[in-house]
């Protein structure tokens, strides 16, 4: 029999990994679009993306809870498509995490793309490289460090999530009961020993992850040096 805390750990890692992958997939084009965008509406999109940074997680959780419930369209559509209720499901907490951790992925990528600028891309197209070719063989390797940062921050921030999950996921073991919720449970039950154990592991885990990011970023400092120079002229 697997212990509830280990199950919570597995659920957490599953949620964070899935969230990170989804965020990289939708965040990369969005960050690219924002970096290249010159319209006035850019500010508004940027503000929307950054909103989770300042909003209390419970606000986001509250609106998502309403949206995910079967009375409202998103929840209804989901139920028609999958036959399952969206609120209080694993899918719900992944969707919530994607929205909640979005700025942590988009912002570093957008910044990296802006810094990279056009010079190297123009050089690439003059050598016969098409748009996808340029992205995978120039942009990606040149901004590798920022991708590592974005993925790690997105992952770590998702692991540390509490408010949104409590609102839309509840506390279903193996489904929506993640480490932060389990910790809260232990405290409510006055089981401080277990609470300590979880808290210290989360703390240590986050510390290790963040140190690893900074170490990696220092090892690969040569992001777009030339691009900056060219921009300055």
């Amino acid at each position: 029999m697997i212990s509830p805390d280990v199950l919570a750990l597995v659920t957490t890692l599953k949620m964070a990994a899935l969230t990170t992958i989804i965020l990289l997939l939708i965040g990369t084009p969005l960050a690219w679009f924002l970096a290249k965008m010159q319209s006035r509406f850019k500010v508004i999109i940027e503000a929307v993306v950054a909103l989770p940074l300042v909003l209390p997680p419970t606000v986001l959780g509250f609106y998502l809870l309403i949206a995910f419930s079967p009375q409202y369209l998103p929840g209804q559509l989901w139920q028609q498509a999958t036959g399952q209720q969206l609120a209080f499901s694993f899918s719900a907490i992944v969707i919530g995490s994607v929205l909640y951790s979005m700025p942590f992925v988009i912002q570093p990528l957008q910044k990296a793309f802006e810094q990279l600028g056009d010079p190297l891309l123009e050089a690439g197209s003059m050598l016969g490289a098409g748009a996808l070719d340029r992205f995978f063989n120039i942009v990606l390797p040149s901004t590798k460090a920022s991708f590592i940062t974005a993925a790690s921050l997105g992952f770590a921030h998702t692991v540390g999530e509490f408010g949104v999950i409590l609102m839309i996921g509840g506390n279903i073991p193996g489904e929506t009961r993640v480490l932060s919720i389990a910790l809260f449970d232990h405290v409510e039950a006055f089981d401080y020993a277990q609470a300590h154990l979880l808290a210290i592991s989360l703390l240590a885990g986050s510390m290790v992850l963040l140190s690893a990011i900074y170490l990696l970023n220092r090892a690969a400092p040569k992001t777009p040096k030339t691009a900056k120079k060219a921009k300055g002229k």
Binding site: P119, S125, M126, L127, G128, A129, T226, K233
Partner: protein
């Protein structure tokens, strides 16, 4: 190969308006001050400027057609088979030298060129495994040049590729450009604000000022034409354009080499006249490896301020070069006079012999002009020291 340009492009503070057919053979220079639109012109040809109205054709293939009537066409830069070497190299920092070169070679469809041969030609063998940021400015541009060539373009564009380099690196890259052009028969459009560089390597010259073409023709002819327009729009620009501008009134020449070193530290060129006379022109001796370039001829120039005029033949003079010439024009420019003199003109009484006429440009003060009472049609002696015959490459 013809490049047919007919377009307008918003280019603050004015419009870039280009209407010209360029016949692309050898190296065509594009000259103009900063802000004259020459880099933008290259970018339009490359396809990096899309917001233009009009059309560009390379021979029969349409690169862009954004005129009102026909359906719009735009060929992406990566499909144009045009190479571009930027002022700032733009080597990929995540790849080493070899990686940068392979990037180009891999994406090339024809692969007519031998990879190793290009590396040999551009003298990069010893640098292949270096990181890009370990290279000097000149080395970077050599890699950028090799990379552009390995993509095997139909046309190569060079956008001020030498402007960040020191004199020695400039000269060695210019020689490399000449060599590449000759060996690969690759048409090159070369943008620069340095007439010294252009004079050495270009066959033709296009001059831009404030977004408009103000001249297009053979290199010597265009340089001579610019002598008359010294105060023209070129010097409009900004104050520092004066400093940047190395355009001097000059005589631009391509002359057959007779001797590289006559044993007295002088090289000898020959200047022939319509009368089939051979006049020797002396200049400081040239290094032995000079010969193969430009088919045994030497590109050189003489500043108008380095030539003086004498009414009698200066026999007893240390000035080794003197020519008999006839004044064809006198243009006063402030307190100076630009004298145009023709050497080797046809004999008046019907001499049929074909030969060469050569114009020379002389800058003198109005004071001297009055002292000598110079008039159009007058015959004079032009004299200049060997050291006044300059060449940028050697």
């Amino acid at each position: 190969m013809n490049l047919n340009l007919n377009f307008q492009l918003d280019f603050p503070p004015f419009n870039l308006t280009i209407e010209q057919v360029l016949s692309l053979q050898g190296i065509t220079g594009i000259f103009g001050h900063s802000g004259s639109g020459k880099s933008t012109l290259l970018r339009a040809i490359a396809g990096l400027e899309k917001d233009l109205v009009g059309a560009i054709f390379l021979d029969d293939s349409c690169l862009i057609n954004h005129s009102d009537r026909k359906p719009k066409t735009f060929i992406k830069p990566e499909q144009r088979h045009i190479g571009l070497v930027f002022q700032d190299s733009r080597l990929f920092p995540h790849l080493n030298v070899l990686g940068n070169l392979k990037f180009a070679a891999k994406r090339c469809q024809n692969r007519r060129l031998d990879f190793n041969e290009i590396i040999k030609l551009t003298e990069l063998s010893s640098l292949l495994h270096k990181q890009v940021d370990e290279l000097s400015g000149g080395q970077k541009q050599r890699v950028a040049l090799a990379r552009a060539i390995l993509a095997e373009p139909k046309l190569l564009l060079l956008d001020e590729p030498l402007s960040a380099l020191d004199r020695q690196a400039k000269a060695s890259l210019l020689k490399l450009m000449l060599n590449i052009q000759k060996q690969l028969q690759l048409p090159i459009l070369y943008v620069s604000h340095s007439m010294d560089e252009l004079q050495q390597v270009c066959d033709k010259l296009l001059v831009l000022s404030q977004g408009k073409i103000i001249g297009y023709g053979g290199i010597h002819q265009m340089i001579h034409q610019l002598n008359y327009t010294q105060n023209y729009a070129l010097s409009h620009a900004s104050h520092n354009a004066q400093v940047e501008n190395d355009l001097h009134q000059q005589t631009s020449l391509s002359l057959p080499i007779k001797t590289l070193d006559n044993g007295h530290g002088l090289a000898v060129l020959s200047l022939s006249s319509a009368l089939d006379e051979q006049q020797e022109i002396y200049l400081p001796a040239l290094a032995k490896n000079t010969e193969p370039l430009h088919e045994q001829t030497l590109r050189c120039f003489i500043l108008a301020s380095d030539i003086s005029i004498s009414l009698i033949e200066p026999f007893n003079s240390s000035i080794v070069n003197h020519l008999f010439a006839k004044i064809t024009a006198l243009n006063s420019q402030g307190n100076k006079v630009l004298v145009t003199a023709l050497y080797g003109g046809k004999k008046k009484n019907g001499g049929e012999k074909k030969g060469q006429e050569q114009i020379f440009f002389v800058n003198i003060s109005t004071f001297s002009q009055q002292q000598l009472a110079l008039k159009i049609g007058q015959s004079v002696y032009l004299q200049f020291k060997a050291g006044a015959v300059r060449t940028y490459l050697y």
